[in-house]
C-alpha cells in the first residue's frame, strides 16, 4: 500500500516551502488531518491557523495573493468547496488570484465520519467556476508533482486529496503534465477513464477484462479542468466505448466532463462508475467503496455493459 495523497501533500508542501519563500499556508483547525502541520512545524512564521472559519480562510488567502504571496489553503473538501464556495468564486476566482486550495478528505473514503463529511460534489462545484483549475492526483507521486506545478502556475487551483492510503500507481520516472491524460494501458475494445483513487481499480479492471477477451485502454485524467479533450476524442475514435470511474457523484464530475467532451467531438456509448446521486454513510473506506459500487468488479461490469452497447 502506498501513502494517502494528503500525506504526500504535507511532505511536498514542506519541501516546496524551503525553495519558495512566498508560500504561506493557512488551515482551519484541521492541520493535523490535512497534514499542513508538517509545513507549520518547519515554517511557523508562514503558517496561520484561522480557526474554524472557512469563509475567512478563503478571503484571507485572496488578500495574501493580492499582495503577492502564494497562499496554500487546506481544509476538508466539504468545507473548502461547499462551505466556502462563494468566497472561492467571488474573492478568489473572479479576480483570478493566485490561491492554491488543497482540499483533503474528499469522497466516500473519509469513512467513519459519514455523509456530512464526505464531499462527493466538490469536483462539480469547483470545475464550474471560471478561472479555476481542478486537479485530482491518483497517488503520492502525482500529488507531489501536481503541487509543484500548482505553485509555479499563476492562478487559482483546486487540488483534491484523500484521507485513505492508496496504492502507488506511478514510479520515480513519472512526469506530471498539466492538462494531459496519462495512458496506463493500451486496448482496442473500450477506454476506461479514471481519476484519483479510482485509477488503481481501473487498471486492475483492464487486467481482468483480458480474461473475457476484452482489451481496454486506461486513461488517468488528473486534470479535470481543463480536460484533455484530444485524448478523450481519440479514445472514442480508436476504441468506440468509454467508461468513467470516480469517487464522486456521477453528476458533474469526471463522468460529466468526459460526456461533455464526447458529445461535442465523437459520441460513443458511455457508462459512468461513481456515486449514484445519493449520500454516503459511516463505514470503513473499503466497505463504502463496495456498497456504493466503486470496486474493480463494478468497473468490469460497466465495461461489459458499454461494449454490449457498441454496434
Amino acid at each position: 500500500m502506498g501513502k494517502a495523497t494528503r500525506e504526500a501533500y504535507g511532505e511536498a508542501l514542506k519541501e516546496l516551502g524551503a525553495r519558495c519563500r512566498d508560500i504561506v499556508v493557512l488551515d482551519a483547525d484541521l492541520s493535523k488531518s490535512t497534514k499542513t502541520n508538517v509545513f507549520g512545524k518547519a515554517y511557523p512564521d508562514r503558517f496561520f491557523n484561522v480557526g474554524i472559519a472557512e469563509q475567512n480562510l478563503m478571503g484571507t488567502a485572496a488578500g495574501l495573493a493580492a499582495a503577492g504571496k502564494i497562499p496554500v489553503v487546506s481544509t476538508f473538501a466539504m468545507f473548502a468547496a461547499g462551505r466556502a464556495f462563494e468566497q472561492v468564486r467571488n474573492s478568489i476566482c473572479y479576480p483570478k488570484l493566485n490561491v492554491k486550495i488543497a482540499a483533503t478528505h474528499a469522497g466516500l473514503t473519509v469513512g467513519e465520519d459519514g455523509a456530512s463529511h464526505q464531499a462527493i460534489e466538490d469536483i462539480s462545484l469547483m470545475r464550474t467556476i471560471p478561472n479555476m483549475t481542478v486537479i485530482v492526483p491518483a497517488d503520492a507521486t502525482e500529488t507531489r508533482q501536481a503541487l509543484a506545478w500548482a505553485i509555479e502556475y499563476k492562478g487559482p487551483v483546486y487540488l483534491r486529496l484523500g484521507r485513505a492510503s492508496v496504492p502507488d500507481v506511478f514510479g520515480d520516472g513519472y512526469e506530471f503534465h498539466h492538462g494531459k491524460a496519462v495512458q496506463l494501458a493500451e486496448g482496442a475494445d473500450l477506454t476506461i477513464v479514471a481519476t484519483g483513487i479510482m485509477v488503481g481499480p481501473a487498471r486492475q479492471a483492464a487486467d481482468e477484462l483480458i480474461q473475457s477477451g476484452l482489451s481496454a485502454r486506461v486513461l488517468n485524467i488528473h486534470t479535470i479542468k481543463p480536460i484533455d479533450r484530444e485524448a478523450i476524442a481519440k479514445a472514442a475514435t480508436d476504441t468506440g466505448a468509454v467508461v468513467t470511474c470516480e469517487e464522486h457523484s456521477i453528476i458533474g464530475g469526471l463522468g460529466s466532463a468526459v460526456a461533455e467532451a464526447l458529445v461535442e467531438s465523437h459520441p460513443v456509448p458511455m457508462e459512468r462508475v461513481g456515486v449514484m446521486d445519493t449520500f454516503g454513510e459511516s463505514g470503513t473506506p473499503d466497505a463504502l467503496l463496495a456498497k456504493y459500487n466503486l470496486t474493480v468488479a463494478d468497473v468490469v461490469r460497466a465495461a461489459k455493459r458499454v461494449v454490449a452497447r457498441k454496434r
Partner: protein, 277 residues
Amino acid sequence: MAEKLTSEKVAELGRRAKSVRRNIVSMVTAAKSGHPGGSLSAADILVTLYFAVMKVDPNAPADPERDRFVLSKGHAAPVLYATLAEKGFLPQEELVTLRKIDSRLQGHPDMKGIPGVDMSTGSLGQGLSAANGMALAGRLDGRPYRVYALLGDGELEEGQVWEAAMFAAHYKLDNLTAFVDYNGLQIDGPVSEVMSPLPIPEKWRAFGWNVIEIDGHDYNAIYDAVQAAKTVKGQPTMIVARTVKGKGVSGMENIADWHGKAPTQEECNLFLSELCD
C-alpha cells in the same frame, strides 16, 4: 501632538467631496441603476483617505509599497470610481460608462480591470478577510504599507465579518484600519429593525479591536482617527463613522429607498444644483 489637517486641506477635501458626489449622482443616473445612498454616505471618508492619508500614486497603481483600500461594501462602487477619477487613476469622462456593456466600471468593483482597485468586492462580508490577508502579507514582507477597509453597517449582519474580526485581533494586525459606514439604513429599512447589528462599537471592542467613534462627515475627525490608529500597537482599529445615507443631497438623505435606485434625469438635475461649488 499628532499632525492635524490644515484649514486649506479641509477646504480642498470639501471641494473634492462635492465633485465626487456630483459624479456619483451623474454616473448612477446615466447607468439607470446603482447605489447612490451608500456611496454618498461614504464620500467624505474616501476623499479623506485618498487625498490626506493614503500613499498611492496613479502613475504606479501596482506599487508593492502602496497603501491598500478594500471597499467591502462593494455596491458603493460609484464612490470608489469617482474618488479614483478625482485622484487621476481614471479619466473623469469614463465614469458615465458605469454598468454599461464593455465598460471597466462594473456594477461592483473588479480589480482586474481598473488601476487603483485593490480588491474585487460586491458580495457582502468578504472584504475584511481580504484586507486581513493584505495586512498579513505586508507584515511578512516587512513592508510598512497600511491597509484600509470600509464596511457597511448592514454588512455586519454577514457572519464572515466576525470570522475576519477575530482573525485580525488574534494576529494583532495593527497595520489594518477599517471603517463602518454607520448610516443606519439597509435595503429593507433601518438596520435596527431588519436585523440589528447594534451596538456596533461594543461588538468590535469585544472582538479585540481598538474602536474610535466619529462623525463620518467631519474631515478633521476622520483624519485624526486614522492618525490615532497608526499609533496603536498590537491591535487593528475600527473607526465607527456615524454617517447620513444620501449625504449632501437633501432629497436623498436618510431615505432607505435611495439605497439601490437611480435618479431620473429631472431628479438628477435638481440634485446636481445642490452640489454646485
